[in-house]
Amino acid sequence: MTTKHITRKATRHISQNEGLIFEKSSPGKAAWKLPPLDVPEVDTAKLLGKQERKDLGNMPEVSEIEIMRHFTRLSTWNYAIDLGMYPLGSCTMKYNPRVNEFVARVEGLANGHPYQAEKISQGALQIMKTLSDCLLEITGMDAITLQPAAGAQGELTGLLMVRAYHESQGNARKKILIPDSAHGTNPATAATVGYAVENLKSNDRGMVDVAALAAQMNEDVAALMVTNPNTLGVFEQEIHKIADLLHEKGGLLYMDGANMNALVGKARPGDFGVDVMHLNLHKTFSTPHGGGGPGSGPVAVKKILSPFLPTPVVITKADGTLGFDYNRPQSVGRVRAFYGNFGMFIRALAYIFANGPDGLRQTTEDAVLNANYIRKGLEGVYDLPYSTPSMHEVVFSDKVQSKKGVKTMDLAKRLIDYGFHPYTTAFPLIVAGALMIEPTESEPKEELDLFIEAMKSIAEEVEEDPQFVLDAPHNTRISRLDETAAARKPILRWKPAPSAP
C-alpha cells in the first residue's frame, strides 16, 4: 500500500493475549470470601437428601487479579463509542453519558425491590411518572407503558394492543402490512401475534407507495407498521395520507420508533397520525448498548388504545401519592415480570434532564447535520441509490465497488483497519449491497472528516488493489473468521481436553 492510504485515526498497539477463563483455573484459587456464619451450620445432606448437589463441574477457580486482567484484556479487543465514531445505521450509537451510570447506581434506586410497598417506592414511581410524561410530550401521544424490555418486545406489546383493539370492535382482522424496507423484527413480531404479513413495496423515492397501499388496504388489515424516518433515512412525506388511508378502513398506524433521533423536538408522531409506537431508550435516549442489551422499549399510544396497555400502569392515587393500577380488565396482560427495565428509565430521564428542550432539539439538528455532511462528502465516491433527502442516516450501495468484486461487507472489514467500526451492512434489503451510515450527533467535525477520508481512501484501494480490501481486516488481532465452520459444527461451550489414558 502506498503511504497515502495510511490511516490518520488509528495505529497499531500492543494487544494482550488471553485464553479462556477455564484455562486459568486450578483448584484452591479463589476470588471470594464469605463472612462467618451467624446462624447454626446446617446438615445439607439431611435437608436436601437426593436433591443435594455434589459437583459444580468445570466451574472456574481463579483469583481476583486474574479476573480483573481477564476481563480488562477482553475489553481491549472491542471497539466502542468511547473510542470513536460507531456509525451503525439504525442503531443510533450515541454517547452514553456517565452521569446516567452514576445515578442508576445510587443506593435506594439500585437496591429497590420490585415488591416493596408503594409507600416506600415513591421515588421509583416518580421517576417512571416523570419519564412517561416526558416521552408523551416528545411523541405527542396520550398514554404509555414502560414495561417492554426492548424494541422488539415493544413491537409485540404494540401489536397485542392493536389486536385487542380490533377484537373490541368485533373483528381481530387478519394481517399486518409491512414495507419492504422494514426491520426484521417487524414481520417476526407480527407472526408472534398471530397475524399474516403482507409486504408493501416502496416507490422509486424510497417511500411507501401510497397508490399501492390504497390498493392493498382493506378491512382485513389490522395495521401498517412503518418506520419514520424509514430505514433509508428518508422521512415519509405522505405520512398523513398513509394514516388517512388506514383510518378510513378502520386500520391503525404503528410506528417503529427506531429512528426517533431524527425527530425529537422537531416533529411528533402523534401529530402526524400515528396511533401506536415504540421507542428504543437504548437508541434515542442514550442508555448504553452494552454489547447487545439491555434495551428498553416503551410503547406510546393514542387514547383509543389506552384501555389495552399492559398491567400495571402508574397512576396518581386519590391521596396524591403514586401507585400501580392492576385493575384493567381490557389490558393485553403482562409482557414481562415486574415493571420493565427500570435501570434504563433512570438513565433515559437523566439524559432528558441534561438536555432540556433546547438540548434535545439541538441534538436532533446535529444528528441530521452530521448525516448530510457525510452524504455530501461521499456522494460520487459511493453510489447513492435514492436521491431523496436524508434525515439522520444515509444509505449508499456498493454498486461501483462490486464491479471489482468488492462487496459492502469487504468495505466494512477494511474500515476496521482505519480505526472505525463499520456501518450497517446489507440492510435495508431494498438496496443491494447497502452501506447504512448513521453518525449520530455525538461526532465532532474532525471525526466526520476522518471517516470521509477513510471511506474515500478505501474506494481508491478498491480501484488499485481490490484483493487487499478483500483480505481485510489486516490490523486486527484475528483475521476474518470462518463462519461457515462455526455454523456447520457448532462449538457453543468450552470443554476440558480429554485427559490422557
Partner: protein, 463 residues
C-alpha cells in the same frame, strides 16, 4: 449543550459544505404542518450536579436503608465490587451487538464463557447469550417446545412465579397454545397425580419452577419421567440462580429457562435482569436468541462469532424462532463475572449460607406461626401463615425500617394469611430475630437481648 461536540463555527462550515443556508432546510422533508414550532414541554436543561441531586432525592423516597425479607423472583445478594468496575469499561458498556466479530472479540469470548458456565450449572448441553428475563425466557421456552414437538398445548405448575404465568398467558394467547394449570400439594410440590392426568396427546411441554415460587424444591426426575412418558418436554424455570450451588440441577429437563438476577445483578426495582435459556444439543436449531460459537480465522487462530443466525429475525423475518433482537448482554456480563468470582467452590459455600439462614429463619418462625410446606426440601424461601393479615404485619415492620415477606393473598387466596419470606447470605441473625419479634406482636425497640421469652404465645394459624 455539553454532550454536543460542535462549535457554532463548525456548524456553519458544515452547513456551507452541504450547501444549505439554515439547518431548517434539512428538515424540509417534514411537511410544514407537522414541524414543531415550539419548545418541548420537558424540564429545563440541568447541570450534572442538579441531576445527581434529583436522583439522590428520589432514592431517599425509595426504601433506602431498609432491611428486606423479600424474594419472590428478585433476590438481594452481595455484588462483588469487581463487577461494576469491569462492566463500566467503555469497551463493554458502549459497544454494540458483536456482529463485526474481528472488532468485538472481547464481548464474544465473554458470551462464550457465559454460555459455558450456564451449561455447567444447569446440567444442560448448551445455553444462549441471554433473554430479557426469567418470565420471557419461560414463555419463549414454551414456544420452543411447541416447535420441537409439533404439539400445541402446555401444562404449567401453579407454583410457577405468578407473574411468569401471566407473561406466558400473554404470549400464548395468539399462538393458539392452550394452557392447563396443575395444583400443588401439602408439600408445596406439584401434584404428580394431577399432572399425569393433565398431560394429553397434544401436550408439548410441562413447565415447572424449582425451587418453585414457595421456595420448595421439586422432584424434577419424577416430573421428567411423567412428561417424557407422554412425549412432552420438561421445561424447568429457575428464578433463584444461587440455588444451583447446592441443589441438584434439573439434568433430566429438556429446557431450562432461568432468571440469573441473583448472580450479581442489582435488584433495581425489577430490571434490567438476565434471562437465559439452556437446552440439549439436539434442540439447538429451534432455540431463540443469540449464540456465540468458537471457530478459527484464516490463520487457524481461535476466535468467536455469533452463529446459527438463520434462526433469527434479521435473516428469517416472520419465520424466525423469535422476534428477539436486543437482549441483556451487559447484564449477562455481570452474571458472568459473578460466576467467575465465586466459581466451583464459592458458589456452593454461598448457597450453603443461604440455606442455613433460611433454615434458621423458618425454625424461628415455626415457634410462633405455621411454616407451610415443611415436608419437602426448600432453598432460601419459605411460606409463613399467621392469624394476622401479613399486610398489617408488614405495616408494623415498615415502621422499624423492615420490609416483611411477600403477602400471597393476591395470587394464592387459598393460603389465607400467608406470606413468602426470603433470607440470603446478607440477612443477619439479629435482623431475623427482630423481624420475628415485631411480626408476632412483641415490642421491638431494636434491643434483642430479651428475645427468648419463656412462654412464647403461639400465634393462631388460619388453617
Amino acid at each position: 449543550m455539553r454532550y454536543l461536540p460542535k462549535s457554532p463555527a463548525d456548524r456553519a462550515a458544515m452547513q456551507q459544505a452541504i450547501g444549505i443556508r439554515s439547518i431548517d432546510d434539512l428538515f424540509s422533508p417534514i411537511p410544514a404542518e407537522y414541524r414543531l414550532a415550539r419548545d418541548l414541554n420537558v424540564p429545563r436543561q440541568m447541570a450534572e450536579s442538579e441531576i445527581v441531586d434529583y436522583f439522590k432525592q428520589r432514592a431517599k423516597e425509595n426504601g433506602e436503608g431498609y432491611t428486606s425479607f423479600l424474594g419472590a423472583g428478585a433476590y438481594a445478594h452481595y455484588r462483588p465490587i469487581v463487577i461494576d468496575a469491569l462492566v463500566q469499561r467503555g469497551e463493554f458498556l458502549t459497544s454494540y451487538t458483536p456482529y463485526q466479530a474481528e472488532f468485538a472479540q472481547g464481548t464474544l469470548q465473554a458470551i462464550f464463557e457465559f454460555q459455558t458456565m450456564i451449561s455447567e450449572l444447569t446440567g444442560m448441553d448448551l445455553a444462549n447469550a441471554s433473554m430479557y428475563d426469567g418470565s420471557t425466557a419461560a414463555a419463549e421456552a414454551v414456544m420452543m417446545a411447541v416447535r420441537v414437538t409439533g404439539k400445541n398445548s402446555a401444562v404449567v405448575a401453579r407454583s410457577l412465579h405468578p407473574e411468569y404465568r401471566e407473561v406466558l398467558t400473554t404470549y400464548a394467547a395468539h399462538q393458539e397454545i392452550p394452557l392447563k394449570t396443575v395444583a400443588y400439594t401439602d408439600s408445596g410440590q406439584i401434584d404428580l397425580k394431577e399432572l399425569e392426568k393433565a398431560i394429553g396427546d397434544d401436550t408439548a411441554c410441562v413447565l415447572i419452577q424449582s425451587p418453585n415460587f414457595f421456595g420448595t424444591i421439586e422432584d424434577v426426575e419424577a416430573i421428567a419421567d411423567i412428561a417424557h412418558k407422554r412425549g412432552a418436554l420438561l421445561i424447568v424455570s429457575i428464578a433463584e440462580a444461587v440455588s444451583l450451588g447446592i441443589v441438584e440441577p434439573p439434568r433430566t429437563a429438556d429446557i431450562v429457562a432461568m432468571e440469573a438476577q441473583s448472580f450479581g445483578v442489582p435488584l433495581g426495582f425489577g430490571g434490567p435482569y438476565c434471562g437465559v435459556l439452556a437446552t440439549k444439543d439436539k434442540f439447538v436449531r429451534q432455540m431463540p436468541g443469540r449464540l456465540a460459537g468458537q471457530t478459527v480465522d484464516k490463520n487457524g487462530k481461535r476466535g468467536f462469532v455469533l452463529t446459527l443466525a438463520t434462526r433469527e429475525q434479521h435473516i428469517r423475518r416472520e419465520k424466525a424462532t423469535s422476534n428477539i433482537c436486543t437482549n441483556q448482554a451487559l447484564v449477562a456480563l455481570m452474571v458472568n463475572i459473578f460466576m467467575t468470582v465465586y466459581g466451583k467452590v464459592g458458589l456452593r459455600e454461598l448457597a450453603k449460607q443461604n440455606l442455613a439462614k433460611a433454615t434458621y429463619a423458618a425454625d424461628q418462625f415455626s415457634k410462633h406461626a405455621k411454616v407451610l410446606f415443611s415436608s419437602a426440601p426448600r432453598f432460601n424461601e419459605f411460606v409463613v401463615q399467621t392469624s394476622e393479615d401479613p399486610r398489617a404485619i408488614n405495616s408494623r415492620l415498615l415502621e422499624h425500617k423492615i420490609v416483611g415477606g411477600f403477602p400471597l393473598k393476591k395470587f394464592y387466596p387459598e393460603l389465607g394469611h400467608a406470606a413468602l419470606w426470603c433470607s440470603t447470605e446478607l440477612t443477619t441473625r439479629s435482623s431475623i430475630d427482630k423481624a420475628i419479634d415485631i411480626a408476632v406482636g412483641r415490642a421491638a425497640d431494636g434491643d434483642n437481648s430479651d428475645r427468648n421469652l419463656k412462654n412464647p404465645e403461639p400465634v393462631e394459624v388460619a388453617r
